[in-house]
Amino acid sequence: MTTRLFGEPVQRREDARLVTGGGRYLDDLGAGALAAAFVRSPHAHARILDIDVSAALDVEGLVAIYTWEDLPGALAEPLPLLIPHPALTHGRTAYPLAKEIVRHVGEPVVMVVAPDRYLAEDACALIRVDYEILKPVVGIEEAAGGAHLVHEDVPGNVGAHLVQEVPGHGGVPAREAVDAAPHRLEFRLDIERSACTPLEGKGVYARWDADDGSLRIYSSTQTSTSVRMAIAAKLGLPLPKVEVVAPDVGGGFGVKIVHPWPEEILVPWAARLLNREVKWTEDRREHFVSSSHERGQVQRVRAGFDDDGRVLGLEVEILHDHGAYTPYGIIVPIITSTQLLGPYKVGAYRVEFSSLYTNTVQVTPYRGAGRPQGVFCMERTMDKIAAYLGKDRTEVRAANFIQPGEFPYDQGLMFQDGRPLIYDSGDYPEALRMLKELIGWDSFAEDKARAAAEGRRIGIGVGCYVEGTGVGPYEGGHVQITSDGRVHVSTGLTSQGQGHETVFAQIAATELGVPIEKVSVVTGDTRRFGYAVGTFASRAAVMSGNAIALACRKVREKALRIAAEALEADPRDLEITDGTVHVAGVPSASIPLATVAVLSNPLRYAFDEEARRATQFAGAGSDDRPPVAEGEEPGLEGRDYYSPVRSTFAAGMHAAIVETDPDTAEIRILRYAVVHDCGKLINPMIVEGQIHGGVAQGVGGALYEKMAYDEHGQLLNASFMDFLMPYATEVPHIETAHLETPSPLNPLGIKGAGEAGVIPVSAVIASAVEDAEGIAIDRMPISPSDLHHLRLER
């Protein structure tokens, strides 16, 4: 059999357990653990006057009730601000349990521990909290007005303000470039909130080992290593006494990268205090009101361009709604500002954002992380320029593209990782050519006319994006070949359905020349690998993939060295096939990796057959050399890290054909086409799956999903009944084509793929609906009701 598995659509190794009910998700663990539940604020903004728990004390088996006043030491302090930034002058985070003031509906106020979740909720229902209701700030406009404040000490509700400017030729500022351009457009765009909404909510399960003084925590997280450090710090425990495992995680999409969630430190704290196992499983309503949302922005755009549609100057002013707190800093508006330019060269660019507090759920990255908003802005701009000039929309885009010969291309901005925004590679004209062919762009006018003759309205739309992926600082990989010939791979980052067990095994099998069946992969378990950043920003394949490849290369080198000695050959003449090292061209001169592993570890104790052979080999060594040579280590294992200088930039272009009902204003996507370039593909089947899922989330964001807050700050649709996540009936069939422009930045030539699908969808659908209707679409999502009113206003 072949061991060349990189690039093959290998079936997922996760599936065997997941299709048989053998997965182990957070709430599947800890049978018999006590259950935690929380009393959460019913008000968007209020002062806590009194908490009366007396009625709850009669609940059967009640174990504990905690309020902020019960929290000791660092637990009583605000949660960490994970990613500070100089522009975030007024960063604020919540307390694990509210202290005096609550700032959004859903903020945790009281924690209850009871024998099961039913009883814990009974107790919560009996706890009386008196509030003095304060004026809530809801919506971007109200926040910007600053008449009322979310945080008393944050004037104007402005958490952060940042300007980036890339002047044009000769240092011409963007404003002047726009003013001097032959043509100008000014407009406003609105994007509503949505949320990650994984099918499994968050959850934490903690076991305190009193004898050992150690904690084991399972969390449905995107970063077990950092949760571990946060817990050790907050509870004052030595790091080696805390281990955190991310079990099977039922989707993340960004929300689970935030940490520590209040529950992630409260549950371990309670477990230790009570010396009992404690578990908290977030329910759906909690997830809506007490995790994170994203997307909400208002953008004001000024664009200046020439007769060909080339953008000579672009000014964008963004009001970003970051909700009540900023634990994840201002990553989202920074990404919007910097990724907005997409595949285009813009003469001069100025972007300014204000990140504003509102009395709503906090905003942290959701798949795409600010990019969908940026792309919406840029692509609406392209369409408006085309409409203004009466040109084909793809022509205007092509006129602005960075050309294949211009890489690396420096956009002159500072990216989310604090490093220069330099695109590594890409071929945008080819991607657009492929897309136009895939969707039939050039013949669409005829289709549209034919449909019109039948009384039908159809429209076509397009959207392009560039996505910085695989951001640093690093990930690591550890690879060990044991004396049974098995290959054990571990990396610190976590998995939420991306198929890491499969793709990392593909990489390891390819690098080591072993059958994939011999390879097992563990992710997100600090017992196996303690250093990691986490799974976000389409970085897992790039970061851990390369780290694992590098670790494998170390192991391979060592294996060849040992084998060469055993075979009395030159290591340069050796290769590994099917788990056996052999001299190239001489199959008989070979030694299995299992035996090499035995050789690598001179043991004293013969506890099994393999070990007996090892003791023999060890004894056979020379008397004047130590059994483990200087500079060597026992065992056939290797660890390495991948830490890139900067991100790698994937790109894609989507097109859609929609039909709008002339009477009911219903919007139906007839076709959806994707051309995607994430460099070399490790597993095309998995990449396609990522694209499908991303597009589906994008369709949700474009046509169905929003967070409907009323003026009191109540979330009116905090359920799957009214938050309209698409079913199969709402998601179109997705046609895909791949372009592979390898990244020159990493050994595998790969770029990230996780977020890509979602990024341009709102822009594409807006473009298509605009084409069908002839009405400017400047606000997303768009519902039939919205479209109906746009028609009336026409």
């Binding site: 909720e121 309503r285 009113h789």
Partner: protein, 290 residues
Amino acid sequence: MKPPPFDYHGPVTLGEALDVLAEAGPDGKVLAGGQSLIPLLNMRLAAPAHIVDVNRVPGLDGIEAGQDGVRVGALARHAAVERSPEAAALPLLRQALRLVAHPVIRNRGTVVGSLVHADPSAEMPAVLALLGGSVRLAARGGEREVAAADFFTGPMESALRPGELAVSAFFPALPGRSGTAFHEVSRRHGDYAVAGVAAAVTLDEDLRVTAARVACVSVGPVPVVVDVTTACGPRPAGSAGWEAAAAAVRDRIEPEGDIHATADYRRHLTGVLAVRALRDAAAAAHGEEA
């Protein structure tokens, strides 16, 4: 999201069920399919002291068709009615049932439960209202039959009194040369309708409209029935005044806006759906004649 505690009762005869309900009075709630009740309990939006689970009561799952209509028992699941040859006598039942939530919900949910739940966005109340059907309510000491017009009293409110069990509903047959249709627009397939219209049209021998009625969902506190016979006829179905009928419907309804749609859009949409439903109903009536 776990239901609050309650006393569970699992009666095995109708008499026992009615006894338990009588004793529980206003604190009692009947559990049949549970597809509307249990979400409310899980969200702790309802906290009845007594749940009376009638799933073990024999004889309540009947679906009987007669000359005059179809009677559906309290435990007849949506899916059973949808597939039942008896219910096929009334095509509107199937036309509406395929719009009720999703197949898996229909496996458990009951037609009578939908009626008692009295959600003005739901399909089955509109069907009962359009056909002028009735609900049979049993209590210890007797039964009463309440006409649809009197049964739906407000959003999620019906004429059901404490201690009563809705044992069946009766959907009357339409006269010969009648046709029906149900059109709705929902945000997602299977969601409650943003607006929806059930229509029934009866033609005479010359294929002229002699009766046309619609029942509209999601545009009032209860299903809104509008008789549009005058607006439509008496004219041949092909040239009937559907638009005039739609205008009459738009005048009669009282939609409200919510997070999914404005009141204006609902009004507009109901008119559009009324035209579609009436036209299809007329075509069905014509087809039946042919």
